[in-house]
């Protein structure tokens, strides 16, 4: 069986900061990655000064950025669910979980990466995480993928302890930065701070995950 990695996030660029190095390491080994991206981040705020985007053109720009970001880290299977930014928590959770389950049963991932419920700040992140936990939790224990979660709420380490998995992604740093840069409408500030701030550089070079207790 292929060692398949499934990544589930609500916004284009959610994969970039915390997970794209892990993704690039996986695809470099010739192993498959499936990325489910729920929305187009239609309600993003960064329009540029002077503005390069409008509320109406932003989703078209972010669609292209998402494709480029996937290319940068070798993702060949991108599944877009066509939801709207900020509305994920108002969708029916079971319906969403069932959609995730259908993909899980299809690609049979050994690892699944999403946000950590309760520790991912944005309501879309939280809703995505809850639905993923619901989907995985409904599976027979022996069939479940390993569930690795990204947490970045301020109290994450305090409550959850140190991350269970810390991956040094230095070997794919260039691919990761290209993924981050591909989302240029959203990430210009981050790219600049990685260049200037050693702490930020260290943050980008290490990806942190917590196993979710099911």
């Amino acid at each position: 069986m292929d060692d398949h990695l499934l990544v589930i996030f609500p916004h284009p660029d959610d994969e970039a900061f915390g997970v794209s190095g892990t993704i690039a390491q996986h695809t470099k080994k010739g192993l498959p990655v499936t990325y489910i991206c729920l929305t187009l981040g239609q309600m993003g705020r960064n329009m540029g000064n002077p503005p390069f985007a409008t509320r109406e053109s932003l989703p078209l720009i972010r669609q292209k950025e998402l494709k480029d970001a996937c290319d940068a880290v070798g993702i060949q299977d991108l599944r877009q669910f066509g939801l709207r930014d900020k509305t994920v928590e108002f969708e029916d959770e079971k319906f969403l979980a069932d959609q995730f389950l259908a993909v899980i049963e299809e690609v049979k991932p050994t690892r699944l990466i999403t946000f950590y419920p309760g520790y991912s700040v944005h309501p879309d992140h939280e809703a995505t995480a809850r639905a993923v936990v619901r989907a995985v939790g409904s599976m027979p224990e022996m069939d479940r993928p390993e569930l690795l979660c990204v947490a970045f709420a301020k109290n994450s380490e305090e409550d959850l302890g140190a991350p269970h998995v810390v991956t040094d992604i230095s070997d794919v740093f260039e691919e990761k930065m290209n993924c981050i840069k591909a989302h240029r409408s959203q990430t210009q500030w981050l790219v600049e701070s990685v260049d200037k701030d050693p702490a930020m550089l260290a943050w980008v070079k290490n990806e942190r995950f917590w196993r979710y207790p099911l």
Binding site: E56, R84, V121, D124
Partner: protein, 116 residues
């Protein structure tokens, strides 16, 4: 988008009076407002594809600008508008951007529904 020229926006508003239109009205300080600064309340609201027929409309102020549109049973109002355009689909897009280029308010009117 360009910086608002009030006379041009006013002429565009005048042409929309009495027409049945779709409204996008939004204000946001970002989903991470409170995460970035605990003294700030995260406040975001939008309505997309409200159906409205403006009875009158004006742009006011010296910049950033305010737009108020009277409708049959009430008002549509936005403050902080800095930029505008008529996009390739003929829609009137107005927005207020802060110094970092982040959208803080948007008021948009279209004769056909906005994409959802």
């Amino acid at each position: 988008m360009q910086l608002i020229q009030t006379n041009e926006v006013q002429e565009t508003l005048d042409q929309l009076i009495g027409k049945e239109l779709y409204l996008h009205l939004e204000t946001t300080n970002g989903a991470y407002a409170n995460h970035n600064n605990e003294s700030v309340l995260t406040v975001n609201a939008y309505i997309r594809n409200g159906k409205v027929t403006p009875l009158s409309g004006k742009i006011m102020g010296n910049g950033p600008y305010r737009v108020g549109l009277k409708i049959e049973l009430g008002w549509i109002y936005a403050e902080g508008l800095t930029h505008w355009e008529i996009d390739s689909e003929g829609r009137l897009l107005m927005a207020g951007h802060d110094a970092e280029g982040r959208l803080a308010v948007a008021l948009q009117l279209s004769s056909s529904p906005f994409d959802v």
